[in-house]
Amino acid sequence: MLNYIARRLINMIVLLVAISFIGFFIIQLPPGSFLDVELQRLRSLGGDVSRDQIKALELRYGINDPFLVKYWKWVERSSRGDFGTSYMTDQSVGERIWGRLSVSLGLSLFALLFTWLISIPIGVYSATHRYTIPDYVVTLIQFIGLAVPGFLLALILLIFATRYFNQQVGGINSSEFMDQPMSVAKFIDMVNHIWIAVVVLAFGATAGLTRVMRANLLDVLNMQYIQTARAKGLDEAVVIWKHAVRNAIHPLVMSLGTLLPALIVGETLVAQVLSLPTIGPMYLDALRAEDMYLAGTILVMLSGLLLIGNLLADLLLAWVDPRVRLE
């Protein structure tokens, strides 16, 4: 087992190196540079930028370095834990990302929990009551969940919340709590703010996962060992929950690895609508502003998260399914 984990970790590092290289390459693809964007901004403000100033800035940001040199500088600094300074804000990239990433992570974990809590029982019900009216209703809701874009749901809930709950929404905290340390009141305020985001994020994922759960369970219910379990005289509920669900949950566990990063980034649109301080909009801004160090770091961090998520999912899978343990 330890051997397996070690091998996976080594594989992960190799992949991360490859990812950082390709990712950085893609990110610096757009013509022009952050400096062009910045100069344009300065000029539009009426400022005049002299040639020497431009030279100095170019030198400082290494704008004219060849790709490999830029990449090496970035990697070398990152490996020291110094993720560089964002062009945009002059803030440390690491600091900015962590702040946002923690909000994203928290939000996504909430949504994930929500998703699992809903989709497993509903998927089970739907599969065991196939071709009944509730099954059709669930199926229809699932499809609508897949088809309705998250941002629209966010908008609708936003309207709903402002109209009927008279709630101040958007962001994760009301202005009065903004700079206060965490307290019960602040937490409640936060819950009041993020429930829309959690519901919206969970809704789409739940729709998909319920569908998967239903299909898997239907597969498993056709298995011989389910008949064996019934033939023992077990109650149908025990047959389903002890013998079937445990086997059907398999692909759900596997999807865990991909679902978490997907949720983290999937909120980009939702976060845009709800003005949440998460990683998605930040990544988008970085791309738009051609802030390649920031964007590159986020991309690699998300990839790392995906790899770690996959590893955790595999370990969890090994725990759930003894057949996987041999590898």
């Binding site: 008949q227 064996t228 379990a229 033939a231 077990l234 086997n247 057949r323």
Partner: protein, 343 residues
């Protein structure tokens, strides 16, 4: 080996199970499949009854019906399944119970248990062998964990598992097909059932393993006295295992006799054809006989005798219009046949 004189089955009280005119239909998306069209037979106490027939003739469905484990699209639309726990007792109609009722669940695994065809998939991959055996024991026999574990090891030893302690803590995927089937048998016998339904238990195994498993079942049967309903399509296995045989075709029992009569005095053209299609050692010349045509589409319905489109001796105007009734050809040995040739 199976030629012990079989008592005629006229004394109905001696039957563990008596199936009367059982009808099961499957309502599928493509139409109705008449899986069982009035199946009647009996399983004498302490005996092994073989149910023989081609794929799709309804032999597995019959076994599942006794356990009430037919998939929910299959509806039992008539007939009775009378189960008699002990000689001289009052038979109960299993079909009176709901599928998932406590009464039915008490019968399953405790009084009647079942072994399936695929040893590879009939054990849950997520639990150890002893987990799965103990589950049945705790359900029906004792709640005690130590005791149930002890009994699980006992029954594993009984089915000839080498190293039962270690096997008990193995997962199914760590065992070979033959071992898994032994484990299944152990599970099925863990509560010493009155009736064991074995649905092609050796079909998926290689010949050597098959012989071992059959020997084991025969041995355990005489030791525990469990009656067995042995479902198979293999006439060789029938000869080795069974005391009596019911031949099924398209959801009906077409011939019912002792194992000797089936082999030496078969009456129904279908039984004869089945026997002729068995390859024999030493007979190298000539073409192996096969049955003309194939089993009709399950959605269609054949009028008259269901076998007449493939029957070499079908009587025009009779066999294709009138369904033959069950006819007694030898009352003393309980030999019956459904064929116009004998009515």
């Amino acid at each position: 080996m199976t030629s012990q004189p079989t008592t005629p089955t006229t004394t109905a009280t001696d039957d563990v199970v008596r199936v009367e005119d059982l009808q099961v239909n499957f309502y599928t998306q493509l139409g109705v499949v008449r899986a069982l069209n009035g199946v009647s037979f009996n399983i004498p106490r302490g005996k092994v009854l073989g149910i023989v027939g081609e794929s799709g003739c309804g032999k597995s469905i019959t076994g599942m019906s006794i356990m009430q484990l037919v998939a929910s699209v299959g509806k039992t639309e008539g007939g009775k399944i009378l189960f008699n726990e002990s000689a001289g007792g009052n038979p109960i109609n299993i079909l009176d119970y709901e599928r998932n009722s406590p009464e039915m669940r008490k019968i399953r695994g405790n009084n009647i248990s079942m072994i399936f065809q695929e040893p590879m998939s009939s054990l849950n991959p997520c639990y150890t062998i002893s987990d799965q055996i103990e589950e049945a024991i705790r359900l029906h026999q004792t709640e005690d964990k130590v005791e149930s574990r002890k009994r699980a090891i006992e029954v594993l030893t009984k089915v000839g598992m080498p190293n039962p302690d270690r096997i008990a803590d193995s997962f199914p995927h760590e065992l070979s097909g033959g071992m898994r089937q032994r484990a299944m048998i152990a599970m099925a016998l863990s509560c010493t059932p009155t009736l064991l339904i074995a649905d092609e238990p050796t079909t998926a195994l290689d010949v050597t393993t098959e012989a071992n498993i059959l020997d084991l079942m025969r041995e355990l049967q005489s030791e525990i006295g469990t009656s067995i309903m042995f479902i198979t399509h293999n006439m060789g296995v029938v000869a080795q295992m069974c005391d009596e045989v019911a031949v099924m075709y398209l959801g009906r029992v077409v011939e019912r006799a002792t194992v000797d009569d089936i082999f030496y005095e078969p009456r129904h053209p279908y039984t004869i054809a089945l026997l002729q299609s068995i390859p024999r050692l030493g007979r190298t010349k000539g073409i192996l006989a096969s049955i003309e045509g194939s089993v009709p589409d399950p959605y269609s319905r054949v009028t008259g005798c269901p076998f007449h489109p493939r029957c070499p001796v079908a009587i025009k105007g009779v066999c294709d219009t009138i369904l033959p009734e069950e006819t007694i050809v030898d009352a003393a040995k309980g030999h019956t046949v459904r064929c116009h040739l004998y009515s």
